[in-house]
């Protein structure tokens, strides 16, 4: 009766299968010439470190003859030296007595000493000396057996207490090969036996079990993985599982004692016998040296072949390494696969499991190339060989079920099985088990194409010489396939920036995993030579996140780079998928802001989005809006200085723009005195005709510095600065880099007014104050107005006597030049000595002078000067607010412009008409140009437009409050402003969609947001337009 999943040569129900298998077997018999001596070898010669032509050869002892040397001391009370020697010989005998293994082990003599804690000694911290004839270089004594009587040798080598009796589960016996010959043979091995683990005769079987395992390694056997359900209990183990549990299983049984758990634990099982026979087969060439033994091939059966991924055509694709192929005898009594008589082979065991990679290197810590072990011949990449199949019931024919299974993931590092040592790779897809009938001497081939396995990548990223362009947005998926594939991407980075690159290994379902690729990351200069090591690299899974490898790099210089992604082992398979992510802030604009402006900062970079959080000098900085290639921040208010912008993503990625943002002034900036010298002596309590006016510029002497803090003071402290109404005053420069203050001396004398950015950057202006019995001082003595302007401006004076205000005095005003009128020709001073009248201008055409005299003597007098500027001399200057970017939950601040004349330095002009044209456009994302045919730019959609005229105030300022209907959502407001016939100023403001979850920062914004929300309920505008 046929069981599900079975096929067989004699299965009459599946003629197609019969023919197919027949062809496969025939091909295997006639054409396949794979190595017989294979399956479970510990080491395979690679392409370096061994003679040419030996790659792919399992390392064995020459002619199967092992010579070992034993310690001169005793092992334990129950195993004094002679008995210990006999015990070791007996353990060797278990291996050498395998009938089909051409293997012998001879005790060739003694070591030169009793190895003990006295001659494994401390030299210096971390340096230990031990006898020369047990070291790897002692080739004359190829196998050294150390009897560690009291565990002191083990203590010295492994740590205090490691040699104690309670550690016998781990270190009863340990060691293995530690030197190899260039002709692909084992050259030296060391075995340490811990006497503390064999203090009584009852301990002998378990100790023997541990010794046999170590001897298996010494003979060149790898660990095995079969009947792991002994550990996993899935399915619950049967007695046959224990009886077939190999001595060489990678993991010790999880029970009080190995031989307690496993029946005949110290007896070789079929998998052990098959493995040692594959390494040392008895053949016609060597049987003369091994009398009484049997030919391996003739007395067993062999099934070999390859495991493949499926190709896109459904046929065999790339060979699949690291899959366990298990052959289980079909017990004729039960008709079920036996777990007692079984053998396994891991596909690709002859192929290299680690060739190194260009990112973290091709050599291990000792400088030895990874490709020293394992063939580079792709024929062996998916090759398996289950030779040594026995005929347990003594018949000449047997049936074996052959299945493809995953290697236990726990079999890694210390307990690795097969070619993948740094972690097993989960198989991709599956293959149905088959049943094959074999006769003694059969050598059958069968290939497995894994159904549902990952398909080969349809495209690959760039090469080292021609790296691919990094996908926009900084998020992408890729594959490391075929074998040896490395993905390279070009990348441009800025000095003093940090970047996070995260590569997450994915399985076929797109889930993060640690059982597929082991991604490593490297970054090279774009000019780096091929095969050079990267400037920075990280090894796989260095992050706490499952499957993720994270590289955090800081760039010391700007330039173009190459990003390389590889598998740690240099592997590449169709199921090695990954998710790439780059998080990088490249630039901040503007790079310099006013200390108090709440400026909009545009951070351009890669992988930034609405979920990005930002800090400047530790202050949380809200992300106002996010676009695919940039985010917008609201700069916090900070003192003058240079700051870093720190960006963080939800997934832990981070990027810093180090010292990228300047607030106000910095050390190299210069301060220039524009006005304030040449003031005449003025009465105490009056105002100097020329204010103190400075400009802060960058080190180039030209570029104005906005937002720099300028501190005004006087020495001695006898000046009142009108900017603050105090003796000291801190003012911020405007966008022209200017700050100014009128000065009113409060005492008689000469005062040095200082405008300082720092203790080393300052300018001076002297002011002299006098006093007399009667003084008059004009405030804002001169003014500039636009030609043709109409309006009024105050003519204010202060009357003083010996520095004290004079109240109740009449001041007589008069026009002394030009056409204008006065609101009144006289006025009376108030308690503070002040009084004023308005000068009324009507379509003023030329300069106007006026006078103010203290009555009744009409003396002293002070004059006013109104200069008239023709349209051709008017200029517009930015003062603040023209670079705003807000979101739909916020409102614009006014844009401030100044009308000035063409003098140097320019003076503000009053009453100048400024024409403002504005258009509200629908916001549209910037088209990303790529390839030879970039998409056409989006069509502009004008939602509204307006034109108006505003007039400059007493300081020459005009205020423009941008606005756009809330229903329009995200908009761009383009504005052109011009005064007179000077060049217009053009600026663009943006209102972008608020990020999801935006929380307004103040009550006004919250109220506005609520209002907008209500309005939107009645419109068709989208509530939220994704921008990334």
């Amino acid at each position: 009766m046929k069981r599900p999943g079975q096929t067989g040569i004699g299965d009459a129900h599946h003629p197609g299968a019969i023919i197919g298998l027949f062809l496969t077997l025939a091909a295997g018999l006639c054409l396949f010439a794979g190595p017989l001596h294979a399956g479970g070898p510990l080491k395979i010669a690679g392409v370096s470190g061994f003679n040419a032509g030996t790659a792919g050869t399992p390392l064995t002892w020459p002619q199967g003859a092992v010579q070992y040397y034993t310690d001169q001391g005793d092992l334990s009370p129950v195993l004094p030296q002679d008995q210990a020697n006999a015990f070791v010989a007996n353990a060797f005998l278990s291996w050498t007595s395998v009938a089909t293994a051409a293997l012998s082990a001879t005790r060739a003599g003694q070591l030169d000493e009793d190895v003990n804690g006295g001659n494994v000694v401390f030299i210096d911290y971390g340096q230990v000396n031990m006898p020369a004839d047990i070291q790897p270089t002692a080739l004359a004594k190829p196998v050294a057996i150390v009897y560690d009587l009291d565990g002191k040798v083990t203590d010295a080598l492994l740590g205090q207490g490691a040699g104690a009796a309670d550690m016998c589960g781990s270190y009863a016996a340990y060691g293995g090969p530690d030197n190899y010959s260039s002709d692909a043979h084992l050259a030296h091995a060391l075995v340490v036996l811990n006497g503390n683990c064999v203090q009584t005769s009852a301990a002998l079987p378990d100790f023997r079990y541990h010794l046999m395992r170590v001897l298996g390694r010494v003979l060149g056997l790898d660990w095995a993985d079969l009947n792991s359900n002994v550990f996993t209990r899935k399915p619950f183990p049967t007695p046959d599982d224990y009886l077939g549990f190999p001595v060489m299983h990678a993991l010790d049984p999880a029970c009080p004692n190995a031989t307690m758990c496993v029946t005949a634990g110290d007896q070789l099982k079929m998998d052990d016998r098959a493995a040692i026979s594959r390494l040392y087969p008895v053949t016609s060439e060597n049987i003369g040296n091994f009398s009484g033994k049997q030919f391996f091939r003739e007395n067993t059966a062999r099934i070999h072949g390859n495991v493949y991924f499926r190709g896109r055509d459904g046929l065999a694709g790339q060979p699949m390494q690291g899959v366990k192929v298990v052959a289980r005898w079909i017990d004729p009594g039960s008709g079920l696969p036996s777990h007692r008589y079984a053998a396994a082979s891991v596909s690709g065991y002859l192929f290299r499991g680690n060739a190194g990679n260009p990112a973290t290197g091709l050599t291990d810590l000792s400088g030895e190339r990874y490709d020293k072990f394992g063939s580079d011949d792709p024929r062996w990449e998916g090759y398996f060989d289950v030779a040594g199949l026995e005929f347990p019931d003594g018949r000449a024919t047997a049936q074996y079920q052959v299945s493809v299974e995953a290697v236990d993931p726990a079999c890694a590092d210390l307990t690795a099985v097969g070619p993948y040592h740094s972690g097993q790779v989960a198989p991709s897809g599956s293959a149905a088990a088959i049943t094959i009938t074999v006769n003694k001497g059969d050598d059958l081939a069968h290939d497995f194409i894994m159904a549902g396995s990952a398909l080969p990548a349809s495209e690959s990223a760039g090469t080292f010489s021609s790296p691919a362009r990094l996908p926009a947005g900084g998020n992408w998926t890729g594959s490391l396939s075929p074998y040896g594939n490395v993905d390279y991407y070009s990348l441009a980075a800025h000095a003093d920036r940090t970047m996070t690159v995260k590569i997450t290994a994915l399985n076929e379902a797109g889930k993060a995993t640690q059982s597929k690729a082991q991604p490593v990351i490297g970054i090279w200069q774009s000019s780096a030579a091929k095969d050079s090591l990267p400037d920075v690299a990280v090894s796989y899974f260095n992050s706490a996140e499952t499957g993720a490898t994270v590289l955090n790099a800081q760039f010391l210089a700007s330039g173009n780079l190459k990003l390389g992604i590889a598998d740690f082992r240099g592997d590449g398979r169709p199921d090695f998928h990954y998710r790439g992510r780059i998080f990088y802030g490249d630039s901040v604009a503007p790079a310099r802001v006013s200390a108090q402006s709440n400026a909009s900062l545009i951070i351009r970079g890669i992988g930034l989005n609405a979920a990005t959080t930002a800090k400047i000098n530790g202050s949380d900085t809200p992300v106002v809006a996010a676009l695919p290639d940039r985010i917008v921040l609201n700069a916090p208010r900070l003192p003058d200085g240079v700051y870093s912008v720190d960006l963080h993503a939800l997934d832990g990625a981070s990027s810093s723009l180090l010292n990228a943002l300047t607030y106000g002034a910095v050390a190299d900036d210069q301060i220039v005195l524009l006005q304030g010298v040449g003031n005449p002596a003025i009465p105490v309590g009056g105002e100097a005709p020329n204010p103190i006016r400075v400009r802060v510029v960058e080190a180039d002497g030209i570029t104005p510095v906005a937002g720099a803090t300028v501190n005004f003071s006087a020495s001695p402290a006898g000046i009142l600065f009108s900017g603050c109404g105090a003796a000291t005053c801190a003012l911020l420069t405007d966008e022209q880099g200017e700050a100014s203050s009128r000065m009113a001396p409060t005492a008689v004398g000469t005062f040095t007014a200082t405008a300082a950015m720092s203790t080393s950057a300052y300018v001076h202006a002297d002011v002299t104050a006098t006093s007399s019995a009667l003084d008059i001082s004009a405030l804002s003595q001169s003014a500039r107005v636009a030609q043709g302007a109409s309006g009024s401006l105050p003519l204010a004076v202060r009357v003083l006597s010996n520095g004290h205000p004079v109240a109740g005095r009449t001041v007589q005003y008069g026009i002394t030049q030009g056409n204008a009128s006065l609101s009144s020709t006289s006025a009376t001073t108030d308690a503070a000595g002040y009084t004023s009248v308005n000068l009324i201008l009507s379509s003023v055409a030329a300069e106007v002078h006026a006078s103010a005299c203290v009555m009744p003597a009409a003396a002293p007098c002070s004059n006013f000067y109104v200069y008239v500027l023709p349209a051709a001399e008017l200029r517009l200057q930015y003062v603040a607010g023209e670079q705003q970017i807000i979101n739909t939950a916020q409102t614009f601040s006014p844009v401030m412009l100044r009308v000035a004349d063409s003098a140097s330095p320019p003076n503000p002009v009053r009453m100048a008409p400024v024409t403002v044209l504005s258009a509200v456009l629908r916001w549209q994302p910037t088209a990303v140009s790529s390839g030879p045919n970039p998409p056409p730019p989006p069509t502009l959609a004008v939602l509204s437009s307006a034109q108006r005229v505003v007039f400059s105030d007493a300081n020459g300022l005009v205020s423009i409050l941008p606005s756009a209907d809330a229903r329009f959502g995200a908009v761009v407001i383009d504005t052109i402003a011009f005064a007179g016939s000077g060049l217009p100023l053009q600026f663009e403001l943006q209102r972008l969609w608020a990020p999801p979850g935006w929380v307004s920062q103040n009550a006004a914004e919250k109220a506005f947001a609520n209002q907008q929300r209500q309005q939107r309920q009645f419109t068709f505008s989208p509530r939220y337009q994704p921008t990334d």
Binding site: V121, F122, I123, G126, Q127, V128, N129, D155, L157, L158, G159, Q160, G161, A162, D166, M167, C168, G169, S170, Y171, Y174, G176, D178, A202, A203, P205, D206, R217, S228, R233, F236, P237, T238, Y242, L251, A254, C255, P256, N257, T259, M260, V262, T263, L365, S366, D408, P409, A410, D413, L414, T415, V538, S539, Y540, F541, N542, S543, A544, T546, V550
Partner: protein
């Protein structure tokens, strides 16, 4: 009708077959390692991140060693949180022993340093635990027996399998209890 064996009884019988035949002959063999034993054997217990791995050039006649430097994140014994700790290990054991890589996060039980200054993971690989992204301790298959004994894990007494993942706090609590006399 043939008599049916209750599944639990069958499992018990099979286990007896697997264990019983050898238990008499090897009754004096050492017990398997438990977390308590790991704890008592260890001179250093900490969770940390691998900073670097170095293999100093071997000197003639000397035992080759590997040095692994850790940033100690959580210390339980023999070291302090925040400090760096260097594990100097025999390269002979290293060649077949646990592999470390920079960035790797582990919880380690290490023997006290021998007079030679060398140490290694207690119990071979048993004393090296993986940490997941939440800092939880993840047990490999071969480590589950460490907490599988009835005295280590109450769930074992009830016949259920112990969990494969432990919160650090819980695991550290077990370690501390294991250190008590």
């Amino acid at each position: 009708m043939s008599p049916k064996l209750h599944p639990r009884a069958l499992r018990a019988a099979l286990l007896a077959v697997g264990l019983g035949c050898c238990s008499l002959a090897h009754a004096t063999s050492p017990a398997p390692l438990s977390l308590t034993q790991l704890t008592r054997k260890a001179g250093f217990i900490f969770a940390g991140r691998v900073l670097r791995v170095e293999r100093p050039a071997p000197l003639v006649g000397r035992v080759p060693v590997v040095q692994v430097t850790f940033q100690v994140e959580r210390a339980l014994r023999g070291t302090r949180s925040g400090q760096t700790f260097t594990l100097t290990q025999w390269a002979g054991a290293w060649d077949d022993g646990p592999q470390y890589r920079p960035g790797q996060r582990l919880l380690l039980f290490l023997y006290p340093r021998s007079q030679s200054g060398l140490t290694s993971v207690v119990g071979g690989r048993l004393g090296q635990f993986d940490l997941d992204e939440g800092g939880n301790i993840v047990l490999r298959g071969d480590q589950q027996s460490l907490l599988g004994t009835p005295e280590e894990n109450p769930s074992a007494r009830m016949g259920t399998r112990p969990p494969t993942k432990y919160r650090y706090r819980d695991f550290a609590g077990r370690v501390r209890r294991g250190a008590e006399p």
